[in-house]
């Protein structure tokens, strides 16, 4: 099916990132040799914690970080929320930056006010699964996900951490159908809208006979004071035509947690 192409392109979307160690922390630790920056291509649908192990291995010794020191990332002054997919963070902060995206690695002074404390990969998996369940609750009243076996959950998370497209869709396909395994419009389309410096917005919108434009209108209606003339709604870094059927968009362009994470940002 040709529509799989869009899914494929979404899945394959990656951003080049160069990780550099925080100079400040290096000086504090008395390090003399400056470690080389590390360049990586990170999938937009992936999460930063999945590369934390590599970063810790490379840089922790340089700042002599102890086990208690938790790694965290920032772009410029903004700490990056570890539970957001990489694509959202890139679209939010680094849309107009020069590539590769330069991200600073920190081990000290964890900004507990801005980002959640990172308790390990299990926390990330838990967060991902809870988002998945929330999405299915909106779509099918959480009936489909209730029938998932532990091994299916395990396979789903493994396919994300290993970035395996076929494994992911072999499981995720079920969430696109109703409980009887039939094609059926979702009750509501799970989506959330991010805007820099604002709280994220989630609303209820039915999938039947609605378009992506309806989502934008809903946001406009919710925040009438927001002047959106010079703004654009980005999904996976691109503008979606307003006429696109919302049901189709949800089925094909959702992040792995089955949400449409839309970033509202100023036009460049």
């Amino acid at each position: 099916m040709s529509d799989m192409d869009q899914r494929r392109e979404v899945w394959d979307g990656k951003v080049p990132v160069s990780f550099i160690l925080s100079q400040q922390e290096l000086q504090q630790a008395g390090g003399t040799t400056i470690p080389e920056p590390v360049f990586m291509l990170l999938p937009r649908v992936s999460y930063f914690p999945l590369v934390y192990d590599k970063l810790v291995k490379l840089y922790a010794r340089a700042v002599s970080a102890s086990l208690d020191d938790k790694i965290w990332l920032s772009y410029g002054p903004s700490p990056l929320k570890w539970h957001y997919p990489v694509g959202i963070l890139f679209d939010l902060f680094a849309r107009s930056t020069e590539l590769p995206w330069e991200i600073t690695v920190h081990f000290k002074d964890y900004p507990t006010d801005d980002i959640l404390i990172y308790e390990g990969k299990e926390a990330l998996e838990g967060h991902f699964l809870s988002k998945l369940k929330e999405a299915d609750w909106l779509k099918h009243g959480a009936k489909v996900i209730q029938q998932f076996t532990p091994s299916e959950f395990g396979k789903l998370w493994q396919s994300i951490s290993q970035h395996h497209f076929e494994d992911f869709w072999s499981v995720n396909q079920k969430l696109m159908l109703n409980i009887k395994g039939e094609m059926e419009p979702f009750k509501f389309v799970p989506f959330s809208i991010y805007r820099e410096g604002k709280r994220l917005y989630q609303g209820l919108i039915a999938s039947q006979d609605t378009t992506f434009g309806d989502v934008m209108n809903l946001y406009q209606k919710e925040f009438p004071s927001a002047s959106l003339a010079d703004h654009q709604f980005l999904l996976h870094g691109i503008e979606i035509p307003a006429v696109a059927h919302l049901q189709w968009v949800s089925e094909h362009l959702s992040y792995p947690d089955n949400f449409l994470h839309i970033v509202l940002t100023r036009k460049t």
Binding site: K14, F39, I238, P241, V243
Partner: protein
């Protein structure tokens, strides 16, 4: 699907591809190669370190193996390398073992510290246990003592309970007794009340009858008064007649031997045991088992005897009776343990002298009539003062006293006769409580009679029945008269006023008279007597011309020559 649909889908696809080419593709190769190079650098760094190490090793080996050369050296080097390698492995092993040992040591110290702490805990627990055992022992001891005390208490309790039940039983029996006694008491009280009522009735009757008698007397006097002439004559004649009645104490009147009864009556309602004339001879008193004393007026010249009055008030039989020297009082001893005094004028009891604990057999006035002496079955004599109305002296005789006399002729002396066959003499001038002397007699003394002018004492005895005359100056028996029997222990014998005769009444009803000096016997024959038997007492009128006798069958007889 419409073309419109496909167009936006394709648009999306194109955009996505555009994006990917812009963001991903241009960096893809670069980053991949970077990654490869990065890895290579890392590997090379590792190789360099390893090679440096090897180089160092080799250099050291070379320095050590300095002189040796050629193939042998090579071989040796190889061997040395081998050995070094082995040494290294051994060193590694050793260090490993050391580490393990260190770990073990750490563990051991940990464990030993644990052991120490456990030991400490154990010792603590032991001390605790010791304390607790001590406490337990103490508690056990306490329990033991408590149990013991409880046992003691229970035994005491049971003993007390036993005692209590015993006392309860006793109490019950005593209570029963008390109830019985109360019943008895009630009964007795009722009886006493009844008797008192009877007594009162009787007294009332007596008073009434007395009143009636007095009224009659008055009537008679009035009648007599209506015949003045006759009365005057009579008074004159009475005066004439009565002139010889006055007794001159100095004169001695010849006594008679009684021959004829001129008056006799059934004087009492029971046996008569007491008989006495007044000192002036105007009155005669009798007393008996009916508890009444009767006073009789003796009209000697007219040969008449009249009843003056009965004296009531005694609680039992009258045992002796006597007038005082002015005829004011009548003294009587009674079986109810008391001695009483009546005034003759109003015939009322005046004094009751109580103190004897048995029958009073005899009561006599002393000279001045201010004192009374009594003899009793309780083996004592008592002296009573009538002014103080109390006993002033008690003499312990040691035997029942049946009769006693006051012998002023011998000084102030009391002579008492006793059932232990002795006559005792008590001198009141000495304060001794013992008799001044005693006189033994063969037989129980029933009566004493004194003839003071000749210091002679007459005593009658029972068992060895006889009359004996005792000369008080010689303190010896001078003569004995026998040949009769006495019917009672209180039969009274008597001297005649002139001392000529002695008389006693026998149980055969005969009055026996002897001449005191010669011992000649005179028997008053039974055929002239009114006594059939059991004469108790007899005596002469103070003038000696009249004789009286009483017996157990209620009879009083008054005699003349």
């Amino acid at each position: 699907m419409s073309d419109g649909d496909s167009s936006w889908k394709l648009h999306i696809l194109r955009k996505l591809r555009e994006r990917n080419s812009k963001e991903t593709s241009c960096f893809k190769e670069l980053i991949l190669s970077h990654g490869r190079l990065f890895d290579q650098v890392e590997n090379l760094k590792k190789d360099i370190t390893r090679l440096e190490y090897q180089n160092n090793e080799l250099e050291r080996d070379l320095r050590e193996g300095g002189g040796s050369t050629g193939g042998g050296a090579n071989k040796l080097n190889k061997r040395v390398e081998d050995l070094q390698e082995r040494l290294l492995t051994r060193t590694d092993e050793v260090s490993e073992a050391r580490r393990a040992t260190a770990d073990a040591m750490v563990k051991v110290t940990e464990l030993s510290s644990q052991v120490r702490s456990k030991d400490d805990e154990i010792s603590k627990k032991e001390t605790q246990i010791n304390n607790l055992t001590n406490v337990q022992r103490k508690l056990e001891e306490k329990i033991n003592t408590l149990e013991e005390s409880m046992k003691n208490n229970s035994s005491t309790h049971s003993r007390l309970m036993d005692e209590h039940s015993e006392l309860q039983l006793e109490f019950n029996s005593q209570d029963r007794k008390l109830k019985d006694l109360q019943l008895e008491n009630d009964r007795l009280r009722a009886e006493v009340m009844k008797m008192k009522a009877e007594e009162a009735d009787r007294m009332n009757k007596i008073t009434e009858s007395e009143k009636a008698a007095r009224e009659k007397d008055i009537k008679k006097q009035i009648e007599e008064a209506t015949k003045p002439k006759q009365s005057i004559v009579e008074t004159k004649s009475a005066k004439k007649a009565s002139s010889p009645d006055f007794i001159d104490p100095a004169a001695v009147y010849p006594s008679i031997i009684p021959e004829k009864v001129f008056f006799s009556t059934e004087a009492h309602e029971g046996e008569i045991s007491a008989l006495s004339f007044s000192l002036d001879g105007h009155f005669l008193a009798t007393g008996g088992a009916d508890k009444v004393i009767k006073v009789w007026r003796v009209l000697q010249t007219e040969e008449k005897v009249e009843l003056v009055a009965p004296l009531h008030g005694s609680g039992a039989s009258i045992m002796s009776v006597q007038f005082d020297h002015i005829n004011k009082y009548v003294l009587a001893a009674s079986n109810d343990f008391a001695t009483r005094l009546w005034t003759l004028g109003d015939q009322r009891p005046r004094h009751t002298l109580t103190g004897h604990t048995a029958k009073v057999f005899s009561a006599k006035f002393m000279d001045d009539s201010q004192r009374v002496i009594t003899g009793s079955q309780d083996k004592t004599l008592k002296i009573w003062d009538l002014k103080q109305r109390r006993c002033v002296k008690t003499l312990f005789a040691g035997s029942s006293c049946c009769d006693l006399v006051h012998a002023h002729v011998l000084g102030n002396m009391i002579i008492s006769g006793h059932w232990d066959k002795k006559i005792r003499f008590w001198d009141l001038r000495v304060s001794s409580v013992n008799p001044s002397h005693e006189l033994a007699i063969q037989g129980r003394v029933t009566s004493l009679s004194l003839f003071p002018e000749r210091f002679m004492l007459l005593c009658s005895t029972r068992d060895d029945t006889s009359l004996r005359l005792i000369d008080l100056r010689q303190n010896a028996i001078t003569s004995t008269f026998s040949g009769f029997n006495l019917s009672t222990d209180w039969s009274r014998a008597s001297f005649s006023p002139d001392g000529q005769y002695v008389a006693v009444g026998g149980s055969d009803g005969i009055i026996h008279i002897w001449e005191a000096m010669t011992g000649r016997a005179h028997k008053v024959k039974k055929d002239v007597s009114v006594h059939n038997r059991d004469i108790v007492a007899c005596c002469w009128h103070p003038k000696g011309q009249v004789f009286a006798s009483v017996d157990r069958s209620k009879k009083l007889a008054v005699w003349k020559r």
